[in-house]
């Protein structure tokens, strides 16, 4: 038994349960700038390609891990993200 862990095994720890408020993104407002994804301390926003959207990326929040800090919402340059009570 060694004090050694496997890489990325923290994915077993679903920190989504910490959340009180939940970020909801309005994709109509979002300009796909990636800033939210870059700032998220929990790396739980993924910028995904969208079909027929000429390369405009779509931020997808992984609620399994999102702790609801609101940093993404606060920093979104176009205020596309709203924090809503999550229960």
């Amino acid at each position: 038994m060694r004090p050694v862990s496997k890489p990325a095994s923290s994915l077993n720890n679903k920190t989504g349960s910490w959340r009180v408020y939940k970020p909801e993104t309005d994709y109509n407002i979002c300009i796909g700038c990636s800033l939210c994804a870059k700032l998220c301390p929990d790396a739980c926003i993924n910028m995904e390609a969208q079909k027929n959207m000429a390369g405009k990326l779509k931020p997808e929040t992984d609620y399994d891990y999102c702790k609801g800090c609101g940093l993404c919402a606060k920093e979104c340059p176009v205020k596309a993200i709203k924090m809503v009570k999550d229960f």
Binding site: S5, S10, S34, L39, P41, A43, K67, G70, L71
Partner: protein
């Protein structure tokens, strides 16, 4: 760039505070790295919150030994790589301001003296965040911490930040840079640049800490931007001892420090004269780091 298929070198599922500025910055650091990297990490929030056995958030070979010895551990890693003939893998040290400015500085000095090809990254929360916000050598003037509380006879910390950049430069560190958690791309770019340096490199990143600074969960990036905008914590790069880039350009218009301080609980007790003192520090910085 960041999508479901990106290999994240710090995965979700870690235990840092919601909205942690240190983890936000660390994510930006990770985006500057590649897979030929080994990390030695000092004790601190970045370590404790990411490696709760049997889980780990890390996707790179990573080791934590003690609070104060990450630099020496890195020297050992480098020696082992050299001896194996692996000249490609880059060795990186990560530490908090406590591990860097205070308890680890002797071993960092030794590492720098050996002139080794190691990149040191300091995540500066301006306090010992992991143990409950005690003052470190990086704690700024006037900040209340649990070991420099404000009170009847105390304004909080009475000492100014140690000049770690200056100390690194005095050691002849080839690449010395500073950034803040408000500028993720700047961090990523500096890390990428540092990887190209053959020799000692040092990057220091200001990381707002939620309970440490007494700010709201969503304010880390905002505060980190203000820190640069006031001139208290400009974005800087030195190569071979020369300042090559700085956010304090000829056209730089500093934000007054009060705009930065007022939102932070750790400064809420300060009086006007204290604010003036801090404004003076910012002004001095602006003069010193103007490019």
């Amino acid at each position: 760039m960041i999508n479901k298929n990106t290999k994240k070198f710090i995965s979700p599922g870690h235990n840092a505070c919601a909205g942690c500025g240190e983890l936000s910055a660390a994510q930006a650091v990770m985006r500057g790295l590649n897979e030929k990297v080994i990390i030695a990490n000092a004790t601190g929030c970045l370590e404790v919150t990411t490696t709760s056995y049997p889980e780990s958030a890390w996707g790179l070979p990573w080791i934590h030994s003690l609070f104060e010895n990450a630099a020496s551990v890195a020297s050992g890693i480098l020696a082992a790589l050299k001896q194996k003939g692996d000249l490609e893998t880059k060795v990186i040290v990560q530490g908090g301001d406590g591990g860097t400015y205070d308890i680890g500085i002797g071993l960092i000095s030794g590492m720098w003296e050996r002139g080794e090809n190691i990149l040191y990254i300091c995540f500066d929360t301006e306090a010992y965040s992991n143990t409950g916000i005690q003052a470190s050598g990086a704690t700024p003037y006037g900040a209340a911490t649990t070991t420099t509380p404000n009170g009847l006879t105390s304004i909080g910390s009475t000492t100014r930040k140690k000049d770690m950049l200056g100390i690194a430069l005095a050691h002849g560190v080839k690449y010395v840079a500073q950034s803040t958690a408000g500028f993720p791309d700047d961090i990523t770019n500096k890390v990428k640049k540092a990887l190209t340096i053959n020799g000692p490199a040092y990057i220091q990143i200001l990381c707002p800490c939620i309970p440490g600074w007494k700010i709201n969960y969503d304010e880390a990036a905002m505060m980190a931007k203000l820190a640069a905008q006031t001139g208290l914590y400009p974005l800087l790069e030195y190569l071979d001892g020369k300042l090559i880039t700085s956010s304090v350009t000829a056209t730089f218009k500093p934000v007054v420090v009060n705009d930065y301080l007022k939102g932070q609980g750790r400064f809420s007790h300060l009086k006007d004269e204290d604010l003036k003192m801090i404004q003076k520090i910012a002004d001095e910085n602006v003069a010193k780091y103007k490019i």
